[in-house]
């Protein structure tokens, strides 16, 4: 499993992903699920992937044209005129990759080769945009009505985002919110695991404003993880008490 969230705020976009991949509970590994490309001053594109690792790695490798020698490579995403075109291109690659694997030689594996992708970024002269690309290659775009997308193990960490989100929040608060959401998920599902990858895309910066890998020993993560339990308990006790005798 996996947990990734892309969140739109007025100041830009915050992306966070875990790094655990697993095949059963006895075969776990750390793989990066967040990738980005940028042309300083012109565009930044960030991608997070969930699903079959061979599929998602194949998609990323094709985006980077790793079939060619380094000098011959042209990353299509860096030439796409709009973020819509970027999402379309990624959708096409995802659909083709899954479809090839599923039909290859009539072989049908036990696993499914499906994958989902969150795509975020901004190209100069246009707004920052956030998309979710489905395995079929189609996609939807976030707006302030539904300002975040989750992929993978989405449920445990969803209520706190719904309650805590505010479009005018600072990047620092947005990161804090995502860390709480990830901590709730990590506590409930073994197939989501540290370290976490974090990237902040500030409007009109066209370069990562902030990037970090958050490991088990990260003091801020530890502080949030340990103090959130107490903070929740205080919140809980601040609520009105139930009485057996009221109507």
């Amino acid at each position: 499993m996996t947990y990734c969230v892309g969140m739109l705020v007025e100041k830009g976009i915050v992306m966070m992903s875990d790094t655990r991949t697993n095949s059963g509970v006895d075969n776990i590994s750390v793989f990066r699920k967040m990738f980005h490309w940028n042309v300083p001053g012109e565009r930044i594109i960030s991608v997070m992937t969930a699903g079959n690792l061979a599929t998602t790695q194949a998609v990323i490798s094709q985006l980077e044209e790793r079939t060619k020698t380094p000098d011959d490579r042209i990353n299509t995403l860096l030439g796409a005129p709009t973020m819509f075109q970027v999402a379309t291109e990624i959708g096409k690659l995802v659909r083709e990759t899954i479809s090839e694997r599923q039909s290859a030689n009539g072989l049908t594996g036990k696993g499914k080769f499906t994958a989902s992708v969150i795509v975020a970024g901004q190209i100069a002269g246009m707004e920052p945009r956030l998309f979710m690309v489905y395995p079929e290659g189609n996609f939807i775009e976030a707006s302030f009505d539904t300002p975040f997308f989750q992929i993978g193990e989405t449920k445990y960490g969803r209520p706190i985002i719904i309650r805590g989100y505010d479009r005018s929040m600072s990047f620092e608060d947005a990161v804090k919110l995502l860390i709480v959401s990830f901590d709730s998920t990590l506590k409930a599902n073994l197939s989501v695991g540290l370290p976490l990858d974090l990237m902040v895309i500030e409007r009109d910066a066209f370069a990562p404003t902030h990037e970090k890998r958050i490991a088990q020993d990260d003091p801020y993560f530890q502080a949030i993880s340990s103090s959130w339990g107490d903070a929740l308990k205080s919140a809980f006790h601040s609520l009105p008490d139930y009485s057996f005798y009221s109507k």
Copy 2:
């Protein structure tokens, strides 16, 4: 879908269930999923069901021997010597009911006839006990290591129970905790719906200590639902702030 939680505390057991059943999003109904039987001063048994409604209703009807005229009925649960025997009996009925439906006349419906049951209660001279019965008829018992069972849509409402639970909590706090858990779930999944059924089983009472149907217009539910958002936000803001510049 469904959401039911049975929770063991030192003082006894608290049970809460929603009442929504749905077949698609355009065919929703209200059905009771919580049932209880008791012999005053001797035993109380409470059951909550999730899964295929025809299956769960058939199980309950067979428990009550509704194939017989009222005078001839003997509820097996009321004669079982131990709660273990009660869970065994329910497990047997669940397994048989599912297995009959699935093999009947070689017909295979689109739906699955599966069901899960939470069983709680106490018989005089023994401890209060809480079980989760699987569709296969086998079951597990709660202890203070894992003091609650959820069935149905379990994920959204789980983190708050994990954080808020305390075995020595009052029944009132336990009810408050479950209402918060249900509210988070209701906000995220349309297939879980009000009203909620609540029952409190106090140790050595052998009768329901408290029973209530909590509807949309319940003032306590409304107070929790509206103040939990604010309480969570305060909890969130009480956490240390993230900084881009710390290591």
